[in-house]
């Protein structure tokens, strides 16, 4: 059976523009959540977000000119992909390139570009619409751009499953390699929806945190009593997945292994998760089954944990149900530090899961001052914790009732 390992990582988030910066900041309990200053948020119920300074976007990787021609979500995806590509250090010949592919998705894609071009069409007419508008907004264009940049001619696509996108992209890539349709995949998610229409839309859906505008760093607080919604973040996470023998043969450094992938649908509500948490439970169950591990072999859950009143407890209950007879289970939420990166969240969190396993330390769940309720699960409140982790589950759940889980572990 073909095994799938991880040989490259890349991330750009509100905590920094490399995996190294991110990881150091996470362990220092830093928060990337700030007051939004890029556009006027007067009258917005939520005025905070996890944003990335433009100065962190390296023009050597994507020039000013190319940044103008791509929506920000593509720019961020290219930055993270570039880091993962260099980290993995591969250079395919023509034949190999046909077996190397790209699956980088996004939850929303070029929302800001669509908004801006709508204004141009309305105010100035059709002649002012840029020929780059459509290719700058399409979600699969991150995969397209990355494949062009590195000459990768294998499978090329992009899932769009809201906040589960990044996890689906990794899981789908894992499945392709496992089923011998590819030998190497660059995969992950990117998002840049911290823009006027994005903030307005999620506010209207009553999804965002609206009680910490004066104290941004405290806004994202999964499982805490005072949580009031998620804090949006922007960024991208990208991994290089590779068939195990293929990675060994070229002497690649291996971060860990993707062992299982589960996915399910709630069939319940457009924005709310199913109340019994059954959808998330079944996604985890399917991933664990594929991994052929027993639950004793799993020590850690990298939670979806968005800091919403309803979702946090439903996920907690599902994890409790799964691990009810087990002790020493850890679960944290990286969103407490970077906010909710929507379609990029699962990919960035998979990167952090691998770093946690590699370094035997779990970043803290920030702002978890008073848990909503008691649990036997260690939610890693406010202080990072050393823990030997052999295997972990990373969860992502999205609007539309879409659920995805990965089992990630040591090889």
């Amino acid at each position: 059976m073909r095994r799938v390992v991880v040989t490259g990582l890349g991330a750009i988030t509100p905590l920094g523009n490399s995996v190294k910066n991110n990881w150091e900041s996470l362990l220092q309990n830093k928060s990337g959540i700030k007051k939004i200053t890029k556009f006027n948020v007067d009258g917005y119920p939520c005025t905070i977000a996890g944003t990335i300074e433009d100065s962190l976007i390296d023009e050597q990787i994507i020039s000013q000119r190319d940044q103008r021609r791509n929506d920000r979500f593509i720019t961020l995806g290219i930055i993270a992909a570039n880091e993962a590509y260099l980290d993995a250090g591969f250079n395919p010949n023509e034949e190999e390139a046909n077996r190397y592919g790209v699956i980088i998705g996004s939850g929303i894609g070029g929302l800001d570009s669509i908004y801006k071009n709508s204004l141009i069409l309305n105010d100035q007419g059709i002649r002012r619409i840029s020929p780059f508008f459509i290719p700058s907004s399409l979600i699969n264009l991150t995969s397209g751009q990355v494949s062009i940049k590195y000459g990768l001619k294998g499978p090329n696509s992009s899932p769009v499953t809201a906040c589960a996108t990044g996890t689906h992209a990794i899981g789908d890539s894992f499945t392709l390699i496992k089923n011998n349709k590819a030998d190497l995949m660059i995969c992950g998610g990117s998002e840049a929806a911290v823009c006027p229409i994005g903030m307005a839309g999620f506010s209207a859906a009553r999804a965002l945190c609206d009680t910490f505008n004066d104290n941004p760093e405290s806004g994202s607080r999964p499982w805490d009593k005072k949580r009031s919604g998620f804090v949006m973040g922007e960024g991208a996470g990208v991994l290089v997945l590779e068939e195990y023998e293929h990675a060994k043969k070229r002497g690649a450094d291996i971060y860990g292994e993707i062992k299982g992938y589960g996915l399910s649908g709630d069939a319940f509500h457009i924005t709310k998760p199913s109340e019994d948490g059954n959808g998330g439970f079944r996604a985890m169950e399917m991933a664990v089954k594929e991994s052929e591990l027993s639950l004793e072999d799993i020590q850690y859950i990298n939670a979806h944990g968005t800091s919403t009143p309803v979702g946090d407890l439903i996920e907690l209950s599902a994890v409790e149900r799964m691990f009810e007879n087990h002790k020493n289970i850890f679960m944290n939420s990286n969103k407490s530090a970077i906010g909710h990166l929507l379609g990029a969240a699962g990919a960035v969190e998979a990167v952090f899961t691998l770093k946690s396993i590699q370094n035997s330390i779990l970043p803290a769940t920030l702002n978890l001052d008073e848990p909503e309720r008691e649990t036997f699960i260690d939610l890693v409140p406010n202080t990072p914790k050393e823990a030997k982790i052999k295997n972990a589950i990373s969860n992502s759940f999205g609007f539309g009732g879409t659920n995805a889980s990965l089992v990630i572990g040591t090889i």
Binding site: S63, R65, R127, S130, P131, F132, P135
Partner: protein
């Protein structure tokens, strides 16, 4: 160099990301300066904006070189 030629050159440098020294009066946007069909549409839009004129599609199709652009804009700009 005429004022119009200089302004056209500036737009081409900005939009195509080419070195100014590579741009000659007979340089073709697509064959010599690396533009693709989308780039040329954007170039024409930028000319329209800079020179405050409208370049109809049939005229735009005939703007192949730097010289073509300068000559059209000399005759038609406001």
């Amino acid at each position: 160099m005429s004022d119009i030629e200089e302004r056209v050159k500036k737009i081409v440098v900005e939009h195509l990301g080419v070195d100014e020294s590579k741009i000659q009066s007979d340089s073709k946007f697509i064959d010599d300066l690396g533009a693709d069909s989308l780039d040329t549409v954007e170039l024409v839009m930028a000319f329209e904006e800079e020179f405050g004129c409208e370049i109809p599609d049939d005229a735009a199709e005939k703007i192949v070189t730097m010289k073509d652009a300068v000559s059209f804009l000399s005759d038609n700009s406001n």
